[in-house]
């Protein structure tokens, strides 16, 4: 198995890359999601600022403001616990792609309106971390996107609650233990 996968597989099998990705990505999204969920009306204004969703009917904007922060927290918690890791990773990967595209669009608008260098563009992106410099935020998003991709693709389940639950389930079910050859 190790020969088939090469060194990438061997590193992945240690569970360390996935563990780091889960901790960093999960921790960040729990923090950012909670800061938005605590003031959904403030977040609603940011959702509208990006001009992605229609203003009428109001359900699009309002439901996004209510559900999106919770989705971030739920995915973050899933990663931290190590359950539904691939699903949470893929969901955050998709969200990060959309967020980054929206950030780039908004920052280009600001840059076009102000005679400043692109990296000097600074605004509150509604990301839950206050005002940010755009280049720093894009670098942060790129790193988080890579971690989300890693969480989606990793085959390791070491240090994951789901793996522990599977082992417990196998050991308490004689029929499945036998079938699994353990």
């Amino acid at each position: 198995m190790m020969q088939r996968g090469g060194w990438l597989r061997r590193v992945d099998d240690t569970g360390v890359p996935l563990g780091v990705a889960r901790l960093v990505l999960g921790g960040m999204f729990v923090f950012m999601g909670l800061s938005k969920a605590l003031d959904p009306i403030d977040f609603l204004k940011f959702v509208r600022m990006y001009d992605i969703l229609p203003e009428t009917p109001p359900y699009f904007l309002n439901l996004t403001a209510v559900i999106l922060p919770v989705l971030e927290v739920v995915c973050g918690v899933a990663l931290l616990l190590g359950v539904a890791v691939r699903g949470a990773g893929l969901t955050l990967f998709g969200m990060l792609l959309v967020f980054t595209a929206a950030l780039i669009s908004q920052s280009l608008d600001i840059h076009a309106a102000k005679p400043i260098a692109y990296c000097d563009v600074r605004f509150d992106c509604g990301c839950g971390t206050g005002e940010v410099y755009i280049c720093r935020k894009l670098a942060e998003n790129a790193a988080l996107t890579l971690l989300a991709l890693l969480a989606s693709l990793s085959r390791s389940r070491r240090f994951c609650l789901s793996a522990w639950l599977s082992r417990v389930s196998l050991s308490t079910d004689p029929e499945r233990s036998w079938a699994a050859g353990s």
Binding site: L38, D39, P40, P58, V66, L71, V74, R86
Partner: protein, 199 residues
């Protein structure tokens, strides 16, 4: 491979379902005045604001705006007036202010209102107007001039609040939107009022 794809799809569906259930549940249950009214359009205004000038729009809609203000005064379509700093200052110094005939309305949130406001301003946070309007209307309905402001710059909350005030019986002709907002008021060295918190 197909098994992994199916499992991932199920995981995503479960995560989404949990988020929708928790999000809607918390939004319904929360008592801290932070819940979002799902059916409410918080950004309501006439369609014309984003399209073309309607026939008979006030001439001031086409006038040159103050520095930093939008070139198109959205409030014109509501029939409300745009107010410049010098006008606002004269209304602030007018004895009608103390008589309650000139009233300043702060459309920002409680935190910003507490950290600094135009003295005597009434708080009507546009996004939580249901909470503030019942009391505020007693003060606003008899007023000759209702001067609405928010942060300033590209802030639109004073326009949105003007729309809400009109819906609640305030004459559009009595409403003046101070586009420079609190930012310009403070920058011009005008007096401000803050909420003092006792420890």
């Amino acid at each position: 491979m197909a098994r992994i794809a199916t499992q991932t799809f199920v995981e995503i569906a479960v995560l989404m379902a949990v988020s929708v259930a928790v999000g809607l549940g918390v939004n319904t249950a929360r008592q801290d005045n932070q819940s979002v009214a799902l059916a409410r359009n918080y950004f309501a205004r006439p369609d014309a604001v984003r399209t073309v000038l309607p026939a008979g729009a006030p001439a001031e809609a086409l006038s040159e705006p103050a520095t930093g203000a939008s070139t198109e005064f959205a409030g014109s379509y509501l029939g409300v007036h745009r107010a410049k700093f010098d006008e606002v200052r004269s209304w602030f110094e007018d004895p009608k202010l103390t008589a309650g005939l000139h009233v300043f309305v702060d459309a920002r949130d409680q935190g910003l209102f507490d950290s600094g406001r135009i003295p005597g301003a009434v708080l009507v946070d546009h996004y939580r107007s249901d909470r503030y309007l019942p009391d505020a209307l007693n003060i606003l309905l008899p007023a000759e001039r209702v001067i609405v402001y928010c942060h300033g710059g590209d802030c639109e909350d004073s326009i949105f609040l003007s729309h809400t005030l009109i819906e609640n019986g305030i004459e559009p002709d009595h409403i003046y939107v101070f586009e420079g907002g609190y930012e310009e008021w403070e920058a011009q060295g005008m007096p401000v009022e803050r909420t003092e918190w006792s420890s």
